[in-house]
């Protein structure tokens, strides 16, 4: 069953066509990676899903709500069921780590006592490997730690969809691996829908059940990870072969992809 549906989404900025009729149905409780070369509209697509950008034509449905035309109340009702990890964490510098993670609870769970709130925050920070960091300032954290805290904030209110905007960008390979492992752990533990926007092919293959590839504002490939990696489309093979040893195209031997760090 699809939890997010994009129906012929078009978006242009001035004369630049960013999305050119993208249709996609993102399945519930699975991880979908949206990949593609830089400047191909991945982040714009993500912003459509959360309703930060409205399409020029087409529809984006989340939980059945049209995110492009919904009023603020309906939009916020959907967003309360989502969490998002931004590229740099988007942590508020004026708040501590703990206050950042508690932020969604402060605004949407007034029923929680301060003690219960603190317990949830500590528990969530522990889940992302940041136990004991609640009193620290975001400025004292490394890039990878900021992402972990950003992830804690994204999942603290137990959303049904978690979106990741370039979770590996700017990180060294080992920290990238740790973030990928964290996404896999969260998927096992939370059982929610993950949407990962990334240009990190290795990470995408590692965490995703499904891959959608954007190229030139269009959907170049979409399907289960193994299917996309076996795609005969030249643009898809060119994109993935940069970092992976691909299985043969249909008709050839059906090896599983061998994933290696670049």
């Amino acid at each position: 069953m699809s939890i997010i549906e994009l129906d012929a989404v078009h978006k242009r900025f001035g004369s630049l066509v960013v999305l050119d009729g993208v249709s996609l149905a993102i399945p519930e409780r699975e991880t979908t990676a949206i990949v593609g070369p830089s400047g191909t509209g991945k982040s714009v697509l993500l912003k459509h899903i959360v309703g930060l950008i409205s399409p020029d034509a087409g529809r984006v449905l989340c939980f059945g709500t049209d995110m492009g035309t919904a009023g603020e109340a309906a939009l916020y009702a959907v967003r309360r069921r989502m969490g998002m990890l931004f590229q740099d964490g988007a942590l508020f510098d004026s708040l501590t780590v703990g206050e950042n993670v508690a932020f969604p609870l402060d605004h949407h769970r007034p029923d929680l006592s301060p003690t219960a709130r603190r317990a949830i925050v500590e528990d969530t920070l522990a889940k992302v490997g940041m136990a004991g960091t609640a009193p620290r300032a975001p400025s004292s954290l490394s890039g990878g730690q900021r992402k972990r805290v950003g992830l804690a904030r994204a999942i603290v209110s137990r959303p049904e969809i978690v979106l990741f905007d370039e979770p590996n960008s700017g990180l060294d390979p080992l920290t990238s691996d740790a973030i990928d492992a964290l996404i896999l752990d969260m998927k096992r533990e939370l059982g929610v829908t993950f949407v990962v926007i990334t240009h990190d092919i290795v990470g995408a293959v590692r965490v995703a059940d499904h891959i959608a590839m954007l190229s030139g504002g269009r959907l170049a490939a979409w399907g289960r990870t193994a299917e996309v990696l076996s795609s005969p489309e030249p643009v898809v093979r060119a994109f993935f072969s940069r970092n992976l040893v691909l299985p043969d195209a249909p008709g050839g031997s059906a090896r599983l992809p061998i994933v290696r760090l670049v």
Binding site: K47, P104, H107
Partner: protein, 255 residues
């Protein structure tokens, strides 16, 4: 001749329209989500503390110069006694509100623009939206309430500092009679002039806050964008306050 002016005119009109839409969206957001009152005290304190030291220095030296110029203008006419009246009238009615507003624009207004600009380019404003927290109500409303509380108080403080420094120069440097200075300083102004000063302060405060937040909120990406937004915020706020001051004075004191 008119061709180069067209884009500028269109840009200006476009900017005015965009600002008006921003203010309308802000009013809607506050009506729907209210003001986060917990943040107002902090904002008031920060706006006041940021602007107070420089404001006191500027207001002090404006008062000294008013006394000097008043003395230079009225002494040849035999009107030395009018120096107190000149200092208090100019200070209370015009200079205290506009100088307090300028200093708040320079210190607190630039901070608002740069803070919101940095939040914009670091996606923190988007993060608020995605967490279903209205950024206008959350970020702009406490700053506006803070400035509305603080700027009238700073205006009154400026008035007293201007008159006091004018008195010090008039009496201790120019040798005028202190009692006469104070008598003319107090009889020339009416209680309603203080009220008008407060009203000016509140209007300037609302203008500075909304203009600065508007520039920061729609900051272009990158550090240069934050720099540009900050610069435009202070220049636009100062120009608008000075221009608006004329119209307010015309309404309050004209005819």
């Amino acid at each position: 001749m008119s061709r180069p002016a067209e884009p500028l005119l269109l840009r200006t009109l476009g900017g005015v329209g965009h600002y008006a839409l921003f203010v309308a969206a802000f009013v809607r957001a506050v009506r729907r989500h209210g003001v986060p009152w917990g943040a107002v005290l902090g904002e008031s304190y920060r706006i006041g503390v940021l602007s107070l030291p420089v404001l006191l220095v500027i207001a002090g030296f404006v008062g000294t110069n008013l006394a000097l110029q008043g003395h230079a203008a009225f002494t040849p006419l035999g009107g030395q006694r009018l120096v107190g009246l000149f200092v208090s009238l100019a200070g209370v009615r015009e200079l205290a509100p506009i100088i307090a507003a300028s200093m708040v624009a320079a210190k607190a207004g630039t901070e608002m623009a740069s803070q919101l600009g940095v939040m914009r380019i670091r996606e923190q404003i988007d993060a608020l939206e995605v967490m279903a927290v209205n950024p206008l109500a959350f970020l702009v409303a406490p700053r506006l309430v803070g400035i509305l509380l603080v700027l009238p108080a700073l205006t009154v403080l400026s008035i007293f500092v201007m008159v006091a420094s004018g008195y010090a120069v008039a009496v201790h440097q120019l040798g005028l009679n202190g009692h006469v200075f104070l008598e003319f300083a107090t009889t020339g102004i009416r209680p309603v002039d203080f009220l008008y000063g407060q009203i000016k302060g509140m209007i300037f405060g609302a203008l500075i806050c909304t203009v600065s937040c508007w520039y920061g909120y729609f900051c272009e990406s990158g550090p240069e964008g934050v720099g540009r937004a900050t610069n435009r915020a202070v220049v636009t706020s100062a120009v608008l306050c000075v221009a608006l001051n004329y119209f307010l004075s015309e309404i309050m004191y004209g005819r």
